[in-house]
């Protein structure tokens, strides 16, 4: 089967900002994404977090994975970065291959 090169965008971001990120992705016509839970982490700030025993959303992180075409990513990436960088979180982009190229 023929494979098509796409971008895999991974946003690790604090949970209270998730709705904002998803709203952004929806508005910009991103075709799909999946949200994975995280259980703990540490950042450059030295701030350690862990969701153990937590009731509130603040201080909890999630990972949003969205696979999309580079042509779709290019016009939204700068704004995505701007949204994430106001919050606690990081954005990274890597390459991946998929089968149904038109679905991403």
């Amino acid at each position: 089967m023929e494979l098509h090169r796409k971008k895999r965008v991974e946003v690790i971001v604090e949970a209270p900002a998730l709705a904002r990120i998803l709203r952004f992705l929806d508005e910009r016509g991103v075709k799909g994404y999946t949200i994975l839970p995280a259980i703990a982490g540490r950042g450059a700030s030295g701030r350690v977090w862990s969701r153990e025993g937590q009731v509130g959303e603040a201080g909890r992180m999630v990972a949003v994975v969205a696979i999309m075409d580079e042509a779709r990513l290019a016009p939204l990436f700068d704004d995505l970065f701007r949204v994430v960088s106001r919050q606690i979180g990081i954005v990274s982009v890597s390459d991946c291959d998929v089968v149904r190229g038109e679905a991403f």
Binding site: A19, R20, G56, G59
Partner: protein, 331 residues
Amino acid sequence: MGEIFAMAGANLVSPMVLSFALGFAAALARSDLSFPEAAAKALALYLLFAIGFKGGASVADHGLDGTLVLAIAAGAALSALIPLIAFGLLRAVSGLDRVNAAAVAAHYGSISIVTFVAATSALASAGMAYEGYLVAVAAVMETPAILVALWLARAGQGERRPAEPGGHDAGLWREIALNGSIVLLTGAFLIGLVTGPKGLAEIESFIIDPFKGVLCLFLLDMGLVAGRGMRTGARFLAPPVIAFGVAMPLIGGALGLGAGALIGLSPGGVALMTTLAASASYIAVPAAMRVALPEANPSIYLTLSLGITFPFNLTVGIPLYSAAAALVTGG
């Protein structure tokens, strides 16, 4: 006076407070004791449902007296007023910048439902009754503080910053108003109100009998989270900020005491109004601040509210507020 110390002593060695202390100590000692997030959330849902339902059923039983509207209005007013005082105080003494001071202030205007629940439990042990509708007052006090704090934070920025991508403010307001804990507390209150003592009889062996025990487990978890917060976050709290975390509940509590006495609540009711005003949010408001004021540092407001003010209210505050309420009402 002797009685006050007796009640304070009894409170300090209650299973509730000791469970919190156990969690706090375990976290400071870096024990790996921990609750799964899902279990902690489930306990919180239970407590909100139970306290809301009981409040509603009690109103259905005793009828609404005229002070309900007054109490709700007073609660909303306190929730809006306290952040102004807190903000002024923080700006004057703590060295926090405008945004961080506003974020902290929001927490103190809002309330901690677990502190409220612990206070009802202590009142029950001391045999003091209270008005069931204070649950509704608690629900009302969650939100106004947030609005006032955002206004304080933005007042200094001249004008509102341009709209951010993905940052609809309308969404924010809905999120704050339909916050899960407000909805559950209010909804359970209404269910209790509609089904009354008959409904309560059907489920009381779930929401009344095991209540204190569940509260102990939840406070154990709160202790673990608060202790972990202090262990990793204490370095973000300058001494004046810590002092604020102890002084502000006393100031807020005094206002609550006055308001409760003025509108003629029962001694138990005044104690709860005082507790609400003295307590600081650490669940709903931190999440709202991350959305509305992401520039503010969560290590400051979370650590202060959960690591300093919550333990203070749980151990010293509640018996103090109850004693003051008894004194003021002559009850």
